[in-house]
């Protein structure tokens, strides 16, 4: 299942990683469906008023997936799509890891793993204190869940029963050196979050209906959506391949990938 907006976001990611010869195309493609549902169907945001006080806030804690967020924000109208041509290059505007000063719409600079959830918890606490009904959404990588600081934040959010924060775990089962569960075994990902006091929903992270339903479901406690995803999703030769954490598509691969995406429309 794909639609034109999703295809456009994916084409932008491929284009950006191609001309800049940057890595992380696979990790970016992994989260496009999640970002699409959040930015087009779930979050209370206004691209014309990006600092709206009661807005929902999104944090991409796995900041190396920056191309996906830049492409989504540009598609959604937060900034001019021409800026996507200035990613990761000299005289660029968009750095490889997220910089909240670069363009409108980025709530937090990230790049070092294991920071985003703590900051999101701080934002959620502030919203509660201020009677602000804005919600906080944080995407974590599955590999990122190796970081101890993630679990410090998980424990605090559960203790405070923060109902205004949702974590989405991009569970694509690949990290820097190989299979996630062979490096640090997290096969029981859902049980872990449940045991720490979160409401957990496990879904196909590329199924738009399941994503939307999971976001809309009521939760008594902080909510963790375990989104089973595929690194490099949508491009057959990239899908579930560790190589595409690092490689960037050459000219031929770019053409083939775009052809494949357009064929799905």
């Amino acid at each position: 299942m794909s639609n034109e907006t999703i295809v456009n976001i994916k084409k932008s990611i491929l284009h950006m990683t191609h001309y800049s010869k940057s890595s992380h195309v696979g990790t970016s493609l992994s989260i496009v469906d999640i970002l699409y549902v959040l930015y087009y169907r779930i979050m209370n945001i206004d691209p014309a008023n990006p600092k709206m006080p009661n807005r929902d806030k999104f944090i991409l804690s796995k900041g190396h997936g920056s191309a996906a967020l830049y492409a989504t924000l540009a598609e959604r109208g937060f900034f001019n799509k021409e800026l996507l041509d200035r990613y990761y290059i000299d005289y660029g505007v968009l750095p490889g890891h997220l910089d909240m000063e670069a363009v409108q719409g980025i709530e937090l600079s990230t790049g070092s793993l294991g920071h985003g959830l703590s900051v999101g918890v701080g934002m959620a606490i502030a919203n509660k204190l201020d009677n602000n009904d804005g919600k906080v959404y944080v995407v974590l990588g599955d590999g990122e869940c190796n970081e101890g600081s993630v679990w410090e934040a998980v424990m605090l959010a559960a203790t405070l029963r923060l109902q205004n924060i949702t974590v989405i775990i991009d569970y694509n089962k690949l990290q820097g050196f190989g299979r996630t569960n062979e490096i640090i075994n997290q096969e029981n990902m859902a049980e872990r979050w449940k045991a720490f006091g979160w409401d957990v929903i496990e879904i196909d992270g590329h199924n738009l209906q399941q994503l939307e339903k999971a976001f809309n479901s009521k939760a008594e406690r902080p909510k963790a959506i375990i989104a089973h995803t595929i690194k490099g999703n949508g491009i057959s030769f990239m899908a579930d391949q560790l190589d595409w954490h690092y490689r960037s598509p050459n000219e031929d691969q770019l053409v083939a990938a775009i052809k494949e995406l357009e064929g799905k429309l």
Binding site: M100, V119, A126
Partner: protein
Amino acid sequence: MRQTFINTLMKRAKEDKRIFVITPDLGFSVLEKFKEECPNQFLNVGIAEQNAVGVAAGLALSGKIVYVYSIIPFVTMRCFEQVRVDTAYINTNVRLVGVGAGLSYGPQWATHHSIEDIAIMRSLPNMTVCCPGDPVEVKNIVEESFKHQGPMYIRLARNGEPVIHSEDRKIAIGQAVKVTEGKDLVILTTSNTLELAVKWVELLRQQGRHCMLISFPTVKPLDLEMLNSVIDLNIPIFTLEEHSVIGGLGSAVSEIIAESGKGVKFKRIALPDKYSHYVGSQQFIREKLGMTFENYFRI
């Protein structure tokens, strides 16, 4: 110092609801009253310093002025990368408040000593580093912190430091304060050695030497106007601090002197580049590590 800090903060917090205190479960006997009087502006996040700083950043990004309170190594080094990214790099209004300057925690030993903190914190862009030396300096720095934009590190000693300056003295961030005049030599000090410096100035006076004493409650940004005026006097300059000889006030001053092109006599009095293995009080360890008057000012 701790009481002055919390009392000054509490007074303001009752009027300014943006003020928020986070502790990673430290501050017993110091923070209770604040928690009682401002319950919605206080959170114990548990023994988890990385999360404490991240949560503080999230609150600060939402408009709060957040004080993270702990013992110095835990609020600076345990969570250093959170400090770097989530306070310094993104330039948030987080105040990292560390207690136990230098050897203050004496027999608690090296894990609780702080001999590297000034060096580490002053290397961070955007970070303001304040090391008040008496309760008056603490009060002024805390009051300044309500309006300061950007992250701050505030280095406190513990309790019982005497009042050196007059109670109504106003001190801005970045401003050094002259304590005594003197024509023969000058001591520049910061943080918890201000009291020691006052004693040494008196001992020097008894030797017939008139020592100027200047306190630097802010190490970054350094008061260059005051420092350059001292360099121009062309009298011997000493720095005194309870911090490693590497990277603290002495290093900061030496950088300015070296680039001034003026051949003024200069000596850093600080802790040696090693961890203490001496068991004993702060005073005992100071002496064992050579921070004594006799060591530097023998006639």
